[in-house]
Symmetry: C2
Subunit: 454 residues, 2 copies
């Protein structure tokens, strides 16, 4: 029966790819209100697809934000385990558009890759789950119960999912959750993620004069808000790349010897990170390995800057305001609530009196650590061994997945975190791509995974 | 004859205003290539107008950039002085458009003000000169020779005017130049400017990773270019607002006792500057008066910032690059050439190895000091006394007017610097406005000025 399912998947590769291309044409950008109709279309696409592969009780369920798509298959019986399958149908914005080789919502295969916004993050991953379940179902092999939770706000912090999970505890009860939003180490190195960083995302605005001024007539007597913002930002790290927000490291869990050894054993090195980033040199806290700085140390990043005149040429303006998007990646046991307080305290202590500032907290989530000897992780580990011929690596990585924290908090449900997007997939960048050979292997691995669970 | 000219101006106030409104409808934005046809239209408008008031040899003369409008009236004879009348027909960009109460190129009178881009800076000033000359000519009273030099690149640094003046030394020979681009202290305080700051305008780009990265997957191992740019900018001033570029103050001319007394006597104070700027508090080198910081001390301003994601909402991007527009106001005896070297030296000394940077010098000009006992300044001083009933103030102000330096360098021609734009005219901001009672007084003062010269 396993072989029948694998054979079914192999026979249907072209159709699977075409279905993926179809959903990738929908620009379901969750952060942009203009794309609300596309969000709805993407939710409907997912619901129809769940019905098509035989799921029951499929619903598009409202939240205070974008809707959740739910579906279930509970016919394995009460004695069998129940697996929640998580996904998100929303995507990141696609700008800057001019850097895309082909339009972000016109999927295009070049070489071994499929290029489109959402191909890797994570419509491709959702389709891998859908197609693996379809293959197992069509071969009569599904022996576990399934519950699908496909949200539309992952890229904006899963803000309303928290309430949704809290309000549907019974409906969503499960033994564990399969979450394929965490990626894989490389095409030939399967991996399961056992740790995720949290997030606290801010917008900081600095206001100076009441309107843009002529820099000649007034330059020298008012504190330029763009300069004041730069001074505030520059002070947020010390010379060693350590973050200076008061109390920021108080609750940061130390890396123990065993964890340090795990990090040191990972098949990554400075050269690989230089290749992946294209940066002239690596940077960060010198006392920690690069993999530790990504996986187990918090960060503070400037995600955007805007002030004054930014067009071609020159304008001698002294701008009235300046804005920065700033986000912190958090590790256990930091919380977004603490980070908000620390950021405010820093600003109160360091902002000069000759400007005004305004801090908006946009969204966030705590960090998560997942047990590596749970039945779900073990089933995935054996599945990957079957497909890749080697044990997967166990990672703690830098991204933030709000739902992992929320499921643990409200339902006591741990997540099996993996995925089939490569580190160079450009998830939030132009020319996002999905490596198709790894995607097909991923579908096979998921088929094995469901058989391993029975 | 003087009274006849003043009477003519009074009778024609409405027509003068309508002519000004007409030229203000042309969006002659010199920095924006899309507006090249409007630049041409504005030049043609000026040429037609010069012909209409009786000027000879009117020409639109090409430069390597936007054209110069020339016209002359040399019928006063060789014994009479020759006055060059300077103006510019180009304007600043109008963005952010949403902050304008009425569209920038649809002139609108509200209360005592005319609102439009270019109303104050400086189409209104050019029209004041044109209308004063017309009034004197129509009254048979012009006793001096005139040469008009109306350029189209003042707002982008008069880059090609330098060559133009160098190549037309004979055509442009004059005893002095009337330049009304310098403004007035307030509606009831006439002023003549005897010092101007220079300018050096830069664009600084900082490059980090080869493309935008996911801040979760890579945050912590590369130096964020927006952060690196902020660090470089923050380091350009010390805690007292002093600029740290190496050697920046080496050639700054000290303020002597007499000059300090002149500055201290000016009818300005902290309260007025706070009102004019709307800033929460004043800022700058504590050892100098605010008026000195504007008039006799150099500055370094951030005119613009851009990096990463700047739209509404959030995007967890680690940006590939960050950009700042940075300009220095220069005082005697600084030069833009020195400033370029100092900026480069600063960047070489302070930019870390984990980013790359690129500095582009966009344009600039030296500072200028003008003698206050020349016949031109004296004629203007008496004219202002006649109209306002008081001696004008003599100022050293913060703006930069490239042509003043160029005329002195190539032709040995000093400028009489004044104007009828108020400090709160929002010259480079939304809702730029011209105070019409001051404008009409200005036309009268210019009529007096021409009679005083005979």
């Amino acid at each position: 029966m396993l072989n029948k399912a694998l054979e079914f998947a192999r026979q249907n590769q072209e159709r699977f790819l075409n279905e993926l291309k179809d959903v990738l044409t929908i620009p379901s950008i969750s952060t942009d209100p203009d794309h609300k109709p596309d969000i709805q279309r993407a939710a409907e696409w997912m619901a129809e697809h769940l019905r098509a592969i035989g799921m029951d009780n499929v619903q598009i369920m409202p939240t205070a934000g974008h809707p959740v798509v739910y579906g279930e298959w509970l016919r394995a019986g009460k004695a069998a385990p129940t697996v929640m399958i998580y996904g998100h149908y929303d995507v990141q914005p696609a700008d800057p558009l001019e850097l895309w080789s082909t339009p972000p919502f016109e999927p295009s295969v070049r070489g071994e890759n499929l290029y489109a916004r959402g191909s890797a993050d994570m419509k491709g991953q959702v389709l891998a789950s859908l197609k693996a379940v379809e293959s197992v179902m069509r071969s009569g092999g599904m022996r576990v119960n399934l519950k699908w939770l496909i949200e539309g706000e992952e890229e904006i912090g899963s803000e309303h999912l928290d309430d949704f999970i809290k309000n549907h505890k019974e409906l969503l009860a499960a033994d564990f959750c399969l979450n394929t939003d965490a990626g894989i180490l490389s095409a030939d190195k399967p991996s399961i993620t056992t740790g995720l960083r949290g997030l606290a995302y801010f917008e900081l605005r600095v206001y100076g004069p009441s309107k843009d001024l002529h820099s000649g007539l007034f330059g020298g007597i008012v504190h330029n808000p763009a300069q004041a913002l730069a001074e505030l930002i520059a002070g947020m790290h010390d010379k060693n790349g350590k973050i200076t927000l008061p109390g920021f490291y108080d609750k940061v869990r130390k890396i123990n010897k065993k964890e340090h050894q795990d990090f040191a054993r990972l098949p990554v090195n400075n050269k690989l990170f230089l290749q992946q980033t294209g940066a002239p040199a690596l940077w960060g806290e010198p006392k920690f390995l690069p993999a530790e700085r990504i996986g187990a140390r918090p960060t503070l990043e400037i995600n955007g800057l805007l002030s004054g005149f930014t067009g071609p040429g020159s304008k001698t303006v002294l701008p009235a305001w300046a804005m920065a998007k700033i986000s912190c990646r958090l590790v256990p046991d930091q919380t977004p609530e603490d980070t908000i307080k620390q950021m405010k305290k820093y600003l109160k202590e360091h902002a000069p009196k000759d400007i005004k500032w305004e801090l908006t907290y946009l969204h966030g989530a705590g960090a998560a650590l997942v047990s590596s000897d749970s039945p779900g992780v073990q089933a995935m580990s054996r599945a990957m061994h079957s497909v890749w011929g080697q044990e997967p690596y166990f990672l703690r990585e830098g991204g933030s997945i709000g739902v992992v924290v929320q499921l643990q908090k409200h339902l006591g449900v741990d997540s099996v975190l993996t995925g089939f997007a490569l580190p160079d997939c450009d998830a939030h960048s132009p020319n996002e791509k999905l490596h198709l050979p790894t995607w097909y292997k991923g579908i096979d691995a998921l088929i094995h995974f469901f058989y391993n669970l029975k």
